[in-house]
Symmetry: C2
Subunit: 305 residues, 2 copies
């Protein structure tokens, strides 16, 4: 049984802000059968995640030590369904979550792949709110930032809403924006932006403020752009800055999923997703996150179940 | 009993690198007697510390929220001898360490002042190796950086010497200098310099590297100069950066002094001091630390015991 697998790849390394024309759709014959003796898993991809950090793997010189070559399949976090399996951990019909590809089908050795119980929730939830993005927020907030009594947690817990919000791309003075939204200063800052946003956060932090950093989207596409930290503030406010990678916190996954599912079911957590349809939409969906086009977790739905 | 007290002050706020001409010596009538009912302590100053952070108090807009006005007495860490006391905690003839002034005599209410047991060691030791500078190193290294087995600690313990050294002011490429001195990367970086030196340290750090920051001398005298941190390195290497102030660690003082005195007596710790003589030498001594003129802890000896 062979199909034509459509997948998205890069035409050449990307060193600035990615453009749709940096990507191309390729067609490749793809076998839906597992060879005798192979432990491969053949997956029909259903949803894939649009994660900005992937651009770091697409550069001429990857920051992460490994990179994506032009023409190559691009691995991505996603949800799929097993079509065939030579691996005893997975059977045909199983839902899986983890490392799949920006294409219609994936072939996996089972690394970074987990059998998924959808728990009567939309499959897409397992990419965003119940996936790596959710775990990033959970681990970063509870394990790195370690909120203390009084640090706005009560509000977060009781309302799970926001007090104030602003769009960092639309503020002419980020410092003033933060002073307006946080007149009593900031205890915890969860950074995914870097550069001027991080600088403004440091300026507005309180004594013993904590910064968890797991992304720096404004620095990904401009290698000369860096957060110019005011070290005098860091010193005198005893600020702690901790870089982290969500993969370090995989052991928290069961606890995180169980709590988050409860919150969703009780209606205490609202899920906001921004879904594009079809593998052809991957390039525009991915490029869009660098321009803030998405409202909520950006996902591409590759196929119906 | 009245004397003429010579003391050093600033002529006007200092916003760049301090120059000797920014300072002046003043003469002021000074009573060596404590008024009836007063709890004041009159101190003959013996040694004062030259600490670069003081320049932050001399700026037009002090970074620390309090500042030194032109003409005002400048407080400084130092060692002195009590001449007269209305305070029951101190008696005439006691040695004291703590907050005294850049002058020949100080008057104190006893805040940040401790009775000193010289322990048969040179009085100057109680400013540097056994004073706040020493505590800064001790607390920063053991409490903030938390060295682990294998992280070069054995060497520090057994030899208390250095493997490699370089002068950051004389290296054309700090990145290369660090690669040369630390071919296996850096686990712990104790920052007192900031800017390019901190940037190079971050570039050369290992996974889970820790940075303790309690000074940023290269940023004190240039308000536009900041460490441009590569947040991608901070994230992917899970680097932790912690600002701190030595005053937070005063509770460690007894433990620190007792261990350090043992090391000095066993000849396992070597003390390097750079001493200028006389209150008149304070301006050149202070200015000198910004040019790296000192070799060892910079101290001014105001008077013989």
């Amino acid at each position: 049984m062979e199909v034509i697998n459509k997948y998205v790849t890069i035409k050449s390394p990307i060193d600035g802000v990615p453009k749709e024309s940096d990507f191309e759709l390729k067609n490749e014959p793809f076998s839906l059968l597992v060879k005798r003796g192979s432990k491969a898993i053949i997956i029909k991809n259903l949803y894939v995640s649009m994660d900005p950090y992937l651009v770091n793997l697409m550069k001429t010189k990857s920051t992460l030590g490994r990179g994506i070559a032009p023409g190559e399949v691009i691995n991505s976090y996603g949800v799929g369904k097993v079509v065939a399996s030579g691996n005893p951990r997975f059977s045909k019909g199983d839902y899986v979550v983890g490392n799949i590809s920006w294409g219609e089908y994936s072939i996996s050795k089972g690394f970074n792949l987990t059998k998924l119980d959808p728990m009567n929730l939309p499959l897409s939830y397992h990419i965003g709110v119940l996936g790596l993005s959710g775990l990033t927020a959970y681990a970063g907030f509870f394990d790195i930032c370690k909120p203390k009594r009084g640090e706005k947690v009560k509000l977060l817990k009781e309302k799970l809403g926001f007090d104030e919000a602003f769009n960092y791309k639309e503020e002419s003075d980020l410092n003033l924006a933060l002073k307006r939204c946080f007149p009593n200063g900031i205890d915890i800052y969860f950074d995914n932006v870097g550069a001027e946003m991080l600088e403004a956060a440091i300026s507005n932090m309180n004594l013993y403020g904590r910064v968890a950093v797991c992304g720096a989207i404004s620095e990904y596409t401009d290698s000369g752009k860096h957060a110019k930290l005011d070290m005098l503030s860091v010193i005198y406010k005893r600020i702690n800055i901790q870089g982290f990678i969500t993969y370090d916190y995989m052991s928290l996954f069961p606890e995180f999923v169980s709590k988050t599912v409860d919150y969703i079911r009780m209606g205490k957590m609202h899920v906001l997703e921004d879904v594009s349809i079809g593998v052809e939409s991957v390039p525009s969906a991915f490029v869009g996150v660098f321009h803030g086009n998405n409202v909520g977790k950006k996902i591409v739905k590759i196929s119906d179940d």
